[in-house]
């Protein structure tokens, strides 16, 4: 070996996810109240689990079509049409993937030529930047700010675009900020894509989880469907993370090439999950509404609790994350998170795990019980008071 690593240099150069490090530390502790969990605390709806069990009972334990089970693709087509206002052909424009994570990976690989610039926004989901790099693209980050409620504006994008820009990659409602885009933002950004002839890769996995207004999708804007890869999945709104089902809707030529990558890497998404997903899409609205109502109460509680502590926090209008700012306390987000865990047994994730501009912020997921939220916020109020007292005396 000559002391050389056997790992490819470009993979070796890839940093570990900032959240991973924190995960290892939290995992060593017991009885932690965790605001660090990026998945629903609800179990998948009963009817969805029943359909999965029935499917196993019938011995449906084989591959499906590479594209995904035809009945599920039809269900996706129906759902996307009624919910987001664009019609996709289930035979040529829809691909079922292993969560949205796989869809992001193959989409970027399918549309990026070496050196193409991909604009994305931070703070963002941990995989975005590395996935762009692995696809051979050049990531160009646009930082969103608390003053704008972490919305992305056309003006920010205009500053980042170059002749090499090929793709704009978005995630609204956003993990970790809970930010959404308003209809006007979506229309402006769509204009921007048309003007610069960009392909839009939009991860709308939290679309159903908005609290103050209904989600408005890019594919509802006339002329956008043709230049958009729309990604969605079952994990969040239907609480089906473990089923690992996502999907990509895209124009036929792109979809066919996504399929190529998917087929060589994956074969087909998990069969049991696909059966369950079809049930969720066709009959899951009530279950989603019930979970959304519960998330909304928790969200309201958190916002009120931060306000009582004097911790600034924009109102997160979507997903299930609050993103309070603790920069005024004179302690870094990472130190805050470490000490809060050590001293009070509560886990939050430092905002910079989601990009450098997340420094000074904490991601607090409210996908946890009201009892945990109440106790966790009580301890946070104590901790914040202690930090302030230290600052005063120190």
């Amino acid at each position: 070996m000559n002391g050389k690593s056997r790992v490819a240099a470009h993979v070796k150069a890839l940093p570990f996810s900032g959240i991973r490090k924190f995960f290892d530390i939290v995992a060593q502790r017991k009885d932690v109240i965790s605001f660090g969990v990026g998945e629903p605390d609800f179990d998948s709806p009963r009817a969805v689990r029943d359909v999965a069990m029935d499917s196993l009972e019938r011995g449906e334990t084989h591959y499906t079509s590479n594209r995904g089970d035809p009945a599920l693709r039809k269900a996706i087509s129906r759902y996307v049409a009624r919910q987001f206002g664009a019609t996709y052909n289930p035979d040529t424009e829809i691909l079922v993937t292993v969560g949205v994570s796989e869809a992001i990976d193959i989409a970027l690989r399918a549309v990026t030529n070496p050196g193409d610039e991909v604009i994305y926004h931070e703070p963002c989901f941990v995989s975005y930047r590395p996935t762009i790099i692995m696809a051979g693209g050049t990531p160009v980050c646009v930082e969103t700010r608390r003053e704008d409620q972490f919305r992305l504006t056309r003006a920010m994008l205009e500053k980042a675009v170059t002749p090499k820009t090929r793709v704009l990659m978005l995630n609204f409602p956003c993990n970790p900020t809970g930010a959404i885009l308003l209809k006007k933002d979506v229309e402006d950004i769509s204009d921007f894509c048309v003007k610069h002839d960009l392909l839009l890769l939009t991860d709308e996995i939290y679309a159903e989880l908005t609290y103050d207004s209904k989600h408005f999708s890019f594919i509802a804007v006339p002329g956008m469907k043709e230049r958009t890869i729309f990604l969605h999945g079952m994990s969040k709104a239907w609480a089906m993370t473990g089923f690992r089902i996502g999907y990509a809707c895209a124009p036929a030529e792109i979809s066919e090439n996504l399929m190529k990558l998917h087929q060589y890497a994956i074969m087909s998404a998990p069969t049991t999950g696909q059966m369950a997903a079809a049930e969720a899409l066709d009959h899951g609205d009530a279950a989603v509404a019930e979970m959304r109502a519960e998330y909304n109460r928790r969200r309201n509680y958190l916002i009120a609790a931060f306000a009582e502590m004097g911790i600034p926090c924009h109102t997160p209008a979507g997903a299930f994350y609050a993103f309070p700012y603790i920069g005024d306390l004179g302690i870094s987000a990472e130190d805050f998170a470490m000490r809060f865990l050590e001293e009070k047994g509560v886990a939050v994730v430092p905002g910079d795990a989601f990009g450098a501009c997340g420094a000074g912020f904490l991601r607090c997921a409210y996908a946890t019980s009201m009892d945990n939220i109440r106790e966790g916020m009580k301890r946070m109020a104590e901790f914040v008071a202690e930090i302030r007292a230290e600052k005063k005396s120190g």
Binding site: F22, F23, G36, A304
Partner: protein, 159 residues
């Protein structure tokens, strides 16, 4: 449904302060609305959901189907009110189907419940027949599983 009622149905001990935070209101406003619900009788009380199987004391619950002769004036109401007034009857419903009233009756012993049925219930004028079933174990009560909740086995931190 009103969010306030939904929250109280799930946990009646949620403080007015906490409810106010959850529904973006004020504690005073929440307290006033609860008081109003109590005044008009929409909220009829608050109580603990007790898993009786955990208690040492003997207690028997029977579910009793009762057929009654409806009356020209008032249908089932007069007789239903009379039956529901018994202390032993803890829940009672008018039903569609093969019988008319469904009663949940509690007593200290099987004998006590049996004598309530034979001596006090079935002797009422208008009661045509009764069918008594004794409850053996409670799995779920008012939407709450009597087994303790399962532990949260999700990863403690995930992206």
């Amino acid at each position: 449904m009103d969010e306030l009622l939904d929250i109280l149905r799930k946990n009646a001990r949620t403080s007015t302060k906490d409810i106010a935070k959850m529904i973006r209101s004020t504690p005073a406003e929440v307290a006033a609305r609860i008081e109003e619900y109590e005044r008009v009788g929409t909220i009829r009380g608050y109580r603990a959901l007790v898993n009786e199987d955990h208690l040492k004391e003997d207690r028997v619950t029977a579910v009793i189907e009762v057929k009654v002769q409806p009356e020209k004036e008032g249908g089932f109401d007069r007789i239903a009110k009379r039956i529901s007034a018994f202390d032993e009857v803890v829940n009672m419903y008018l039903m569609s189907g093969k019988y008319d009233l469904l009663l949940f009756v509690e007593g200290k012993t099987l004998r006590a419940v049996a004598s309530f049925v034979s001596e006090r219930l079935s002797t009422i004028d208008g009661v045509l027949s009764t069918g008594t079933h004794f409850m053996l174990k409670t799995y779920k009560l008012d939407g709450v599983l009597m087994d303790m909740d399962k532990v949260d086995d999700r990863l403690q931190v995930s992206p």
